[in-house]
């Protein structure tokens, strides 16, 4: 088995790190660059920023956050959300991103993937596929954070995306996203088996066992983690504040009971668990 990557996924709205369920119902967690910095220092293999409202309102607002992060975080940084043109890609890379993630624009115009890969190299182009399971068991691709149906079936789309030159594919289960019920193993496996490029599983982990499931059974090459590590960091900040017993912590305290099915875990603990499960990854 090859080394797997653990990717810290951060959804961003305006200046804030947010987390939702099914990519909806967003909750503000803090400043993205603070979380990114902490994840960089604590074993993240990559950072992944997704502007979750960019393609809705057709705008790019991430550049300042990207620049501040790229200045002192020396690990790969992928940025997605509202990237529609070669110029958009150039600007995000110039701000300090290493890779860009495309979804909506790729579905609207698949040739955009080819142009982008020719211009910037396949390894710079990540394509995101947001999948929703249909009553007949098929998975269909959606855009705009699971809001808009595209009529595209995900496995054939994944193969097409690879042909067009994408270097990696992120497969998001919108059904599982933010729920803590675990990654969609069948979905991930079907994509990972269909293509020869690395596949990143995203959406759903609530406990550490979910990682081994999606890596061993789902055949993912990398895992994206959001809620579990965000909540772990927030819980840690809360206990720091309680120990110091100063300032108004009622806001943060109020969030503590609402982690739902998600058991917070830090990146170091997650990697330790992978090692114990004989899954190779960077220390």
């Amino acid at each position: 088995m090859e080394n797997v990557r653990v990717i810290a996924r951060m959804d961003i709205k305006g200046p804030n790190l947010v987390k939702g369920i099914h990519l909806e119902g967003l909750r503000v967690l803090g400043k993205p660059e603070d979380f990114a910095r902490y994840y960089y220092e604590n074993g993240a293999d990559e950072l992944f920023y997704q502007d979750v409202v960019a393609s809705l309102y057709e705008r790019n607002s991430l550049h300042d956050i990207v620049s501040r992060t790229a200045k002192d975080s020396f690990i790969p940084l992928t940025v997605g959300g509202g990237i529609r043109s070669i110029d958009d890609i150039r600007e995000v890379l110039r701000a300090g991103a290493d890779k860009v993630c495309i979804n909506t624009a790729a579905i609207r115009n698949p040739e955009f993937i080819r142009d982008a890969a020719n211009k910037f190299g396949s390894s710079t182009i990540v394509v995101a596929i947001e999948a929703i399971r249909q009553p007949d068991g098929k998975y269909m691709a959606f855009v705009d954070n699971g809001r808009e149906h595209t009529g595209v079936e995900v496995i054939s789309w994944a193969r097409r995306v690879e042909e067009l030159g994408a270097g990696e594919i992120v497969i998001t289960s919108v059904d599982r996203e933010g729920t803590g019920k675990g990654y969609d193993i069948a979905l991930t496996r079907s994509i990972a088996r269909a293509v020869g490029v690395p596949v990143i599983a995203h959406g759903g982990p609530g406990k550490k066992e979910h990682f081994t499931d999606v890596l061993l059974e789902g055949k993912a090459d990398a895992i994206a983690v959001a809620s579990m590590i965000h909540y772990d960091l927030i819980a840690q900040q809360q206990s720091d504040m309680e120990n110091r017993s100063e300032g108004n912590v009622s806001f943060l305290k109020s969030g503590r009971s609402s982690f739902g099915e998600i058991a917070p875990a830090g990146l170091i603990a997650i990697k330790q668990y992978l090692k114990e499960s004989n899954i190779p990854c960077r220390n």
Partner: protein
């Protein structure tokens, strides 16, 4: 600021921001340039790059950078290649037909076989953190890898790997699937690595630091 100047050679392929960022972080004056004069007057030169081998050689030729790079290296001045910048130093590559490289290190560039012997698919490109290993007969002490330990993880993104003719230039090896290959070379003033030190955390930035300070101290 060290006062020393680094030229990061821009041949219009790939993203050079992060290489520059690592140099600036270490206090160096780093300029991204396609001008041969700027390259020639720099104290250090770095050839980075991601993308296709053939396009890269075409661009270097169009920008009239091939002879300046060769002159710079033959003059014994400090030169570092990263990723595609390592592969370009070799004699030739199999990437989409055969292409001639800069031929400063004898050897070829080959593609990873997509299948393992157990018939499992090997994902290509390799996009992962992987180990670099020291060889028994080539210690890292007082090389740019001097601050690394054998087995340290570095960040790799590539589909092709180099095969130097002389084993003496191989500084580290790495295994992907069933292929054990040369992941960095040191040949006199020429240091180059397949992984991205600028994307490999503190250990990686330390490689730039070693490379830059070893040479600064020797002068």
């Amino acid at each position: 600021m060290s006062g020393k100047k680094i030229a990061i050679i821009d041949y219009k392929l790939g993203n050079l921001f992060s290489v520059r960022q690592a140099c600036v972080y270490l206090g160096y004056d780093a300029v991204v340039t396609s001008e041969k004069d700027e390259v020639m007057k720099a104290d250090f030169a770095i050839l980075p790059g991601v993308g296709a081998f053939g396009d890269a050689m075409n661009n270097l030729e169009k920008l009239d950078l091939i002879s300046p790079i060769k002159d710079y290296i033959r003059a014994g001045r400090p030169f570092m290649g990263v990723c595609l910048g390592l592969q370009l130093l070799f004699t030739e590559s199999d990437e989409f037909g055969s292409h001639k490289g800069l031929n400063l290190i004898e050897g070829t560039v080959k593609k990873f076989p997509p299948k393992k012997t157990n018939d499992e698919v090997l994902k290509v490109p390799q996009i992962e953190w992987n180990n670099i290993w020291e060889r028994a007969d080539r210690r890292w002490e007082s090389t740019p890898l001097g601050s690394c330990r054998s087995g340290d993880y570095m960040y790799f993104v590539h589909s092709f790997f180099v095969q130097p003719q002389s084993p003496d230039v191989v500084l580290s090896v790495t295994t992907y699937g069933e292929t054990t290959y040369c992941s960095s070379v040191l040949q006199g003033n020429l240091f180059a690595c397949q992984f991205h030190p600028e994307k490999s955390g503190h250990h990686g930035v330390g490689i730039y630091k070693n490379w830059l300070t070893n040479y600064s101290n020797n002068k």
